[in-house]
């Protein structure tokens, strides 16, 4: 995952929960299932989305992370995908996956430095289309969890448009946004500035540290997906409850 860029994009998208543009996702999925022509995509929508008032403890989730060639979904592409299924109680590594895929955009050296996936590795990797069916089946019936929704959803949407001619929509829980609700709600006050305090970093590693979660080496999509899954468990344990309706958390 691309922390550096994500921070910047986050500011634009942050909003308070419960605002009107949150769609009723189960209805939206029913509509999309009608419209989708790709059979895998159709199946994904048919599996449905949980109702907004469902308690978070009852929601099957999938924590997902992409490494990409850059930050722009229109120009850049996905290099690797890591995901792991979870509930509020358990993250199950047995049901986790990690793929390296061949991007249709150039793999730039700056991004190689970050995620460590090299040109020769992607040369041998399959195109996203080859794993699409498996990916969509794993996503089906799960609520996606990401750390910064500016990446995974738009990138998957763009990648599908390019490959199958139609995009994808789904709700996500964004652990970075949950963190931002706490730390970016107000700008640093005068005292803070005099004391040299800046606002808290909401990058994944820093956020995890606040919940006594261990340090994991970043930028492996599977590790980052696990790290994000653990962060959500910690955030709900500290700041929400098992009964919190999922509509207060998702976007």
């Amino acid at each position: 995952m691309f922390y550096l860029g994500r921070d910047k994009v986050a500011e634009a998208e942050t909003r308070l929960p419960g605002s009107p543009e949150v769609p009723e996702w189960s209805e939206r999925f029913a509509t999309l299932a009608q419209q989708a022509s790709n059979p895998h995509l159709k199946r994904f929508y048919e599996a449905g989305a949980v109702a907004g008032e469902t308690p978070i403890a009852d929601v099957p989730m999938l924590s997902i992370d992409f490494e990409t060639t850059g930050l722009d979904p229109q120009k850049d592409d996905i290099v690797s995908i890591g995901l792991v299924t979870m509930s509020l109680d358990r993250i199950r590594l047995r049901e986790g996956r990690h793929w390296v895929v061949k991007p249709r955009a150039d793999l730039r050296n700056e991004s190689v430095v970050i995620h460590g996936i090299t040109h020769s590795e992607v040369e041998d990797a399959p195109d996203l289309t080859r794993i699409l069916e498996e990916l969509l089946d794993l996503m089906a019936g799960h609520l996606m969890v990401v750390h910064h929704r500016g990446i995974e959803r738009p990138f998957l949407d763009a990648a599908l448009r390019q490959r199958i001619g139609e995009g994808i929509e789904f709700p996500v829980i964004d652990t970075m946004e949950l963190e931002a609700r706490l730390h970016r709600r107000r700008p640093p006050g005068l005292i803070d500035r005099l004391m040299g305090r800046s606002s808290e970093s909401i990058r994944l590693a820093d956020s995890r540290g606040r919940y006594n979660l261990p340090y994991y080496r970043p930028h492996n999509a599977l590790t980052d997906a696990l790290a994000c899954a653990e962060l959500l468990q910690a955030q709900v344990a500290h700041r929400f409850s098992r009964d919190t309706p999922v509509c207060e958390l998702w976007h």
């Binding site: 590594l93 047995r94 261990p214 492996n220 468990q233």
Partner: protein
């Protein structure tokens, strides 16, 4: 999931018992891990609730409780819990609560069971009963040093060569040459009516060695036709086939002999020669002892104290067990005393009346280590007259105690030394001391004198020590008031609960930086074993030997004696190993251990050992109450 998920794999690999697992198995475990987060104060497992996984702490801290609410354990990163429940009906037996925000890796029941069934090391480690784990840990270590713990029998390579007492010494020498042996057993077929031998067996009546032929035949200019009976040694010291090699070594040292007949069911099965042992043990305490007896002054002895330390380190490196090290160090300590007494008698002249020099405490128990003070005393003949003999024995005591201090055996802070007139008394006064302690006991009085109940003769009239030992054994055994006082004192020093991160955890929940392994471990164990030993009339001095007597007398619940033995061995070895590490690093060794210097393996097993000690103390308190018949 792919094995490239290294975070979990790398973490597991760092901790017992995963360190022992093959890579492939470890991968299998890592890919099946489940993860859960608990915030501080969350209940992780409730008593009686179903448990479906084994909990391994990734970060944070967890407290595990007994059913009655007592704290059972406090665990941090790398700690685990839930195995009790998994192995018994899949229901939680020890509830657990997150003490800090905690992330746990859960090993699903199916994977845990698979590991437990298929991997012996893994099973050993998480065995239901902590004490079983401790025993396995000890057993594995002993496997690794077969040589040092081998039985005498294993060094016997051939049947003894023997000859009838009627032969001449020349015939004997020829036989020795032909057989290529350095000793002969001499038998007497006419003495076969002894009731302790099967009638068809000839009785072993003597031993002949190369040295005897040199010293008693050639040097004396005797005729080659001299009957063998005139040259042989008749006071035969032997060992039993099942004794440990190091015990044979100690017997050779003690009696200054190089050949020991080995008996099995009262029949000789071979002869063990010093050279046999040396082949096995090229470096050992024998050499240090030899040099002690060749030293001609306190100055020369002082130089040897460095050798004692390297001998200690060598034994630790060779994986000797605590009993062998304690015994070797005690023999070395005795040798210093003996040589100092010889030197004292050379300087002061022969003693005017007989005396016996005593070793007390750890030296008497053969549990001496390198950090030790001198505890000694003098028994004088009943004809002692202070006006006539006082100065001699005072000078003698000063010489020995100063000499010991110079050689690294520090003065006793409690003044339990022969230099203290109170502990330099005729035998009848010693009888009175012991009678008074045993018959009119108070806990306070015994607190300062319990060390005298571990006593051994070092020099002189050793039969007086036998006499006093008999007196103690006879009087103490059925005196419940005395035993209760001793028991009360044995409970004054208690072990800690275990370890938490880099701290020692006390039962009160308090943390400390370091632990004194002697005060909190070996000493209370020895105290406790002494009380039981006295109650069963044991005359043994060594704690392990006392334990054997106690187990035989069957006064402890089944298995608890063996547990105590394992606990004593493990705690002693941790103490010993850390002293050896101090020596290696050029630090002055002590008994204090900082948990940060303990391995994961040591921490877990030490905790088990402390638990055993703690339970044994509870039992002691219950068993020895004043007025209760034991």
């Amino acid at each position: 999931m792919q094995a490239e998920h290294l975070e979990i794999l790398d973490f597991l690999r760092r901790w017992q018992p995963f360190t022992e697992l093959p890579e492939e198995t470890l991968n299998h475990v890592a890919t099946n891990v489940e993860v859960s987060y608990f915030k501080a104060g969350d209940r992780i497992l409730e008593f009686g609730a179903p448990v479906d996984a084994w909990y391994f702490i990734r970060s944070g801290a967890v407290e595990v409780y007994r059913r009655n609410g007592d704290l059972y354990n406090r665990l941090s990163e790398g700690g685990y819990f839930g195995e009790f429940g998994l192995l018994r009906h899949k229901l939680t037996r020890f509830p657990a609560v997150a003490l800090e925000d905690t992330l746990v890796y859960l090993i699903p029941d199916a994977i845990f069971s698979e590991l437990f069934e298929n991997n012996e090391l893994f099973a050993d480690f998480v065995e239901v009963e902590d004490r079983t784990r401790l025993r396995h840990a000890l057993a594995r270590r002993e496997d690794a040093n077969e040589l040092m713990t081998s039985r005498v029998e294993s060094l016997v390579t051939r049947a003894p060569v023997s000859m009838d007492i009627g032969s001449t010494i020349q015939a004997g020498a020829k036989l020795m040459r032909d057989e290529g042996v350095s000793s002969l057993l001499i038998t007497d077929s006419s003495a076969d009516d002894r009731e302790d031998l099967p009638s068809h067996k000839a009785r072993m009546v003597g031993v002949i060695t190369d040295r005897d032929i040199r010293n008693r035949l050639v040097a004396e200019g005797l005729d080659y036709a001299t009957p063998i009976s005139k040259v042989m040694s008749t006071d035969i010291i032997h060992v039993e086939h099942n004794q440990l090699v190091f015990e044979a070594m100690m017997a050779m040292l003690r009696y200054n002999i190089h050949h020991l007949p080995v008996l099995k069911h009262k029949e000789p099965i071979g002869v063990l020669a010093l050279s046999d042992i040396i082949r096995y043990e090229s470096q050992n305490s024998l050499f240090v002892v030899g040099r002690i007896f060749r030293a001609h002054s306190v100055e020369e002895l002082k130089v040897l104290s460095g050798e004692v330390r390297s001998c200690f380190s060598r034994m630790v490196n060779e994986d000797a067990n605590s009993r062998m090290i304690g015994s070797a160090m005690a023999v070395i300590g005795r040798s210093f005393k003996q040589r100092l007494l010889e030197l004292a008698e050379e300087k002061l002249g022969p003693p005017p009346i007989p005396y016996c020099f005593l070793a007390l405490g750890s030296m008497a128990r053969h549990e001496q280590l390198i950090v030790t003070d001198q505890d000694n005393a003098l028994i004088l003949d009943n004809s002692y007259d202070p006006n006539i003999h006082g100065e001699y024995f005072s000078d003698l005591s000063d010489f020995v105690c100063d000499g010991l201090d110079a050689c690294g055996y520090e003065y006793c802070k409690g003044q339990i030394m022969a230099t203290n007139p109170k502990w330099r008394q005729p035998l009848r006064v010693w009888e009175q001391y012991f009678s008074d302690w045993i018959e009119k006991p108070t806990a306070e009085k015994l607190l300062n004198s319990f060390i005298f109940f571990d006593l051994d003769a070092v020099w002189g009239k050793s039969e007086w020590v036998e006499h006093l030992t008999n007196l103690i054994s006879r009087k103490a055994r059925h005196n419940s008031t005395f035993l209760a006082c001793m028991a009360r004192n044995a409970l004054l020093r208690t072990p800690p609960l275990g370890f938490f991160k880099d701290f020692v955890m006390e039962h009160s929940g308090k943390h400390t930086r370091s632990i004194n392994m002697k005060r909190r471990g070996t000493a209370p164990l020895a105290d406790l074993i002494r009380v039981h030993g006295m109650a069963v009339g044991s005359r043994s001095r060594n704690s392990f030997e006392r334990l054997e007597d106690i187990i035989e007398a069957d006064i402890l619940p089944t298995g608890r004696g063996q547990d105590l033995r394992d606990a004593l061995e493990f705690i002693s070895m941790v103490r010993i190993r850390h002293q050896a590490l101090d020596l290696e690093a050029g630090r002055e060794p002590d008994n204090d251990i900082e948990p940060e210097n303990l391995s994961d393996f040591e921490r877990k097993n030490l905790k088990d050992a402390f638990q055993i000690l703690s339970n044994a103390q509870k039992f002691l308190k219950y068993r020895y109450q004043p007025g209760r018949a034991n």
